[in-house]
């Protein structure tokens, strides 16, 4: 299966999103056996709040249909980058869809783009990069954490994306990227992106773009300073985006009626306040939402020796 090339029917080897509710959905690998905690292979059963089931039962089901569980039901959904980002196993802090979207958009990526990413992390952004550059581009993604690189490589393979991605275990600060083709874009999610700027200069094509994602403003300050000092980056800009997921609800407010009819008024006695119900539909923001994820900085690479 492939995250990108959709198939209407679930096959063995697919990754399926089991959707119980908005707060409750999981990626499931459709395999006969899975590794348990002790590293042994056991039958692949999946446990939900509505009971457990044999994962192989999913085979042959149609994506987007109901799947019956012992004490309820769920929907089986085809994976997308967005569903994956919401459900993937966290090996690191991950980047979420609002930031991912802005990064890919701001880098002007399209099929055919050559993209370099460091670090790979949990691969949340990598999936979206691959989807965008497919089928004629390529993602080179690096992580200095060997196990994470291995896990990501394995995931891309399972998700049918391996033709468009190369995963490297590499410390890009000391070793650079070592990608042969000049890249259209470099993305950095590293604690010290400014230390990688010289490598970025060697890897980007003229007019190519750099994007960095940093949670702290000091990181942004140092990165922007390094970019300016290099003398080869223009259109440097820093942005921040926060998404708010609202709910739609009805509200009923009591409306007080201060009028008295003649009899009441004439009686000279206290009467209770009449109340009416006033109902309206309204958009309710969540009680809490992301206040900050990271600063996204873009810069365009224009080397000193200009072409003509």
């Amino acid at each position: 299966m492939s995250f990108i090339e959709r198939n209407p029917i679930i096959k063995e080897g697919d990754t399926v999103i089991l959707f119980l509710s908005v707060n409750n959905h999981y990626p499931i690998e459709v395999t006969k056996y899975k590794k348990n905690k002790s590293g042994n292979y056991v039958e692949n059963k999946f446990q939900t709040i509505y009971g457990h089931f044999d994962v192989m039962e999913l085979v042959g089901k149609k994506y987007g249909t109901k799947f019956h569980l012992p004490r309820g039901w769920a929907y089986v959904l085809h994976p997308t980058c967005e569903l994956w980002t919401k459900t993937l196993p966290h090996r690191t802090q991950i980047i979420y869809t609002p930031d991912i979207s802005l990064i890919i958009f701001g880098l002007d990526l399209a099929p055919g783009s050559i993209v370099i990413e460091a670090g790979t992390g949990s691969g949340s952004l990598s999936h979206a990069f691959i989807r965008t550059v497919y089928p004629t581009g390529h993602l080179y993604t690096f992580d200095f954490h060997e196990k994470r690189a291995d896990q990501a490589r394995e995931e891309f393979q399972k998700h049918g994306l391996n033709s468009w991605v190369t995963v490297g275990h590499r410390d890009v600060i000391s070793d650079g990227f070592d990608v042969e083709k000049p890249a259209d874009a470099v993305f950095l999610d590293l604690p010290k992106p400014w230390e990688v700027v010289p490598h970025v200069q060697r890897s980007l094509k003229r007019g190519g773009k750099l994007c960095t994602f940093s949670p702290c403003i000091e990181q942004v300050q140092k990165t922007v300073e390094a970019l300016k000092r290099s003398g080869e980056f223009v259109m440097i800009k820093t942005q921040e985006v926060l998404q708010r997921s609202n709910s739609i609800q009805y509200r009923i407010l009591t409306s007080l009626d201060f009028s008295l009819d003649e009899a009441e008024s004439a009686s000279g006695k206290l009467v209770p306040i009449k109340k009416e119900q006033c109902k309206f539909r309204t958009l309710i923001p969540p009680p809490q939402s992301a206040g900050h994820t990271g600063y996204i900085t873009f810069a365009t690479f224009v080397p000193g020796v200009s072409s003509s």
Binding site: N23, T92, C216, S247, Q249, Y250, K269, P286, S289
Partner: protein
């Protein structure tokens, strides 16, 4: 989160404490029985009615601390205290307050959980900071390339911590043990270490600071812990409400609110004993949960008057006579109005997907809420004053009818339009009205009415975006959680109609 042995039941029946509140007195700026105080431990904050013979509880399970308040009694605010395991003689002598109507819950307060407060000899800043600093022995990893998330990186188990606690090991020592026993801690980046520390602090921190309640603290406290009770009114929105209503000493203000008494408290605070705050409400028991926490003196409370809206039904109210029958009518109204706001139950069939956030983020606050629920119930029943009676209301009605007010505030769970229609004409010309609502729709109704009547000018419907920023060396960034909505304000100036 945490349960409190300084619990509601204890205090509801504690008539001596009630008396103490009335006569605040002695040490204006110190901590004493019968005064409301703010207790802070790290990020955790409580507002309690101080009683030196009771305990306050932080943490739960293995790390629960039931801290005897006695050590803080008689001291000034803003000092640091350390919670230390109670010595045997204190454990032996510690008994529940004699006023306690409920039997002592042995299951809850175990001897090893009992702590006493010791005034720190260090300056407060040092005491607080010390806790947050990493021991020098711990080096920061440059990055996290070698960390493996195999669930074995934390060697200390819950059981081990509990056992150390049982041996009387101090929180700080426990923390250091946790840190040094963590395989991955030394390899984490400083940023990650800091997050780790903050999390741990929540469980093991034991530096307590007492603060004097203020409107800004109360507003923040209620908004964070029980936003439903304060109708989603965020502190920054309250701050603007007070500005746009032009609240100042010697002003006479008309206020409709059922927002825990927070608005009335804020206005009284800004009046400083001069002027008038006529609190309109429904029923004979106005909300005062937040108001009582301010430890207001009689002088501070002088401007406050109360008026049951029942007395403002149109008709010949001025010369009405109230017979015994009417009291029943009032009682009916009151019973109705004391219903909880239905907001929680109003979630309907088309509750959107954003629930994910609700649930994810709501977990903590939900637990906190239930805690507050108890607290506020307790406060409600401990009235600052008695319910306002017929005479009070008649005085208030007379005052209402003869006064040209300097400003009007409406901040209630009822639809504001009819309230605005009833109250706005009592303003003096060229004075402000401000209406708060959690939703924009009712304010739009008010806006349209005001504009149709031509009796308001400079009318604005505003909302705010508000965020806290963490400023730390090399780690400055906005806080990762924020409240995306703080409610809406409609404000304007009352003018002669066209």
């Amino acid at each position: 989160m945490a349960s409190e042995t300084n619990s509601n039941e204890d205090l509801v029946t504690s008539s001596s404490a009630t008396a103490a509140v009335g006569g605040l007195g002695a040490d204006e700026d110190g901590i004493c029985d019968g005064k409301y105080v703010v207790v802070e431990r790290g990020d955790q904050q409580r507002i309690i009615l101080f009683k030196s013979n009771q305990t306050i509880t932080f943490g739960k399970g293995a790390t629960q601390q039931d801290i005897l308040l006695k050590g803080a009694s008689g001291t000034g605010f803003l000092n640091a205290f350390k919670a230390s395991p109670a010595p045997p003689e204190v454990i032996a002598s510690h008994k529940p307050s004699s006023n306690n109507s409920k039997p002592w819950k042995k299951s809850k307060v175990r001897p090893q959980n009992l702590f006493v407060l010791e005034r720190s000899t260090d300056p407060i800043v040092k005491s607080i900071n010390e806790f947050y600093q990493l021991p020098d022995t711990i080096s920061s990893g440059v990055d996290n390339r070698n960390i493996h998330d195999d669930n074995t990186s934390q060697a200390m188990k819950k059981h081990d911590i509990e056992s150390l606690r049982g041996q009387g090991v101090s929180s700080k020592e426990i923390l250091e043990t946790i840190i040094t026993s963590s395989k991955s801690f030394n390899q984490k980046t400083e940023f990650a270490q800091e997050k780790y520390l903050k999390k741990k602090e929540k469980i093991y921190g034991d530096v307590l600071v007492f603060r004097k309640p203020s409107i800004s603290i109360l507003s923040d406290y209620y908004f964070k812990r029980d936003p439903v009770k304060v109708l989603g009114l965020r502190p920054d929105t309250l701050s603007q409400l007070l500005s746009y209503a032009n609240i100042h000493a010697h002003g006479k203000y008309l206020i409709f609110e059922n927002c825990c008494g927070l608005i009335v408290a804020a206005v009284l605070n800004r009046l400083g004993g001069h002027g008038a705050a006529l609190h309109c409400h429904i029923g004979s028991n106005p909300q005062r949960q937040a108001l009582v926490c301010m430890n207001f003196t009689d002088e501070d409370l002088k401007p406050m008057m109360n008026l049951d809206m029942l007395y403002l039904l149109r008709g010949n109210v001025e010369k009405m006579e109230v017979g015994p029958d009417d009291i029943a009518a009032v009682a009916v109204v009151e019973a109705e109005s004391s219903e909880e706001p239905k907001t929680k139950k109003q979630k309907l069939e088309c509750d959107a997907g954003s629930d994910s956030d609700d649930e994810k983020n709501g977990k903590d606050s939900y637990n906190e809420q239930s805690e507050v629920e108890e607290e506020t119930t307790f406060v409600t029943s401990r009235r600052l004053m008695a319910s306002n009676n017929k005479e009070d209301n008649e005085t208030s009605v007379a005052y209402f009818n003869e006064t040209e007010f300097d400003g009007l505030i409406i901040c209630g769970k009822e639809h504001p339009l009819t309230l605005l229609q009833r109250l706005l004409p009592r303003l003096a010309l060229s004075t402000p009205f401000v209406i708060y609502c959690q939703y924009p729709e009712p304010l739009m109704d008010c806006y349209v009415w005001v504009k149709e009547k031509g009796i308001g000018i400079n009318v604005h419907l505003v909302d705010n975006w508000f965020r806290n920023i963490q400023v730390e060396t090399e780690r400055t960034h906005p806080e990762i959680n924020m409240s995306p909505s703080g409610g809406y304000l409609l404000y304007g100036t009352y003018i002669v109609g066209t």
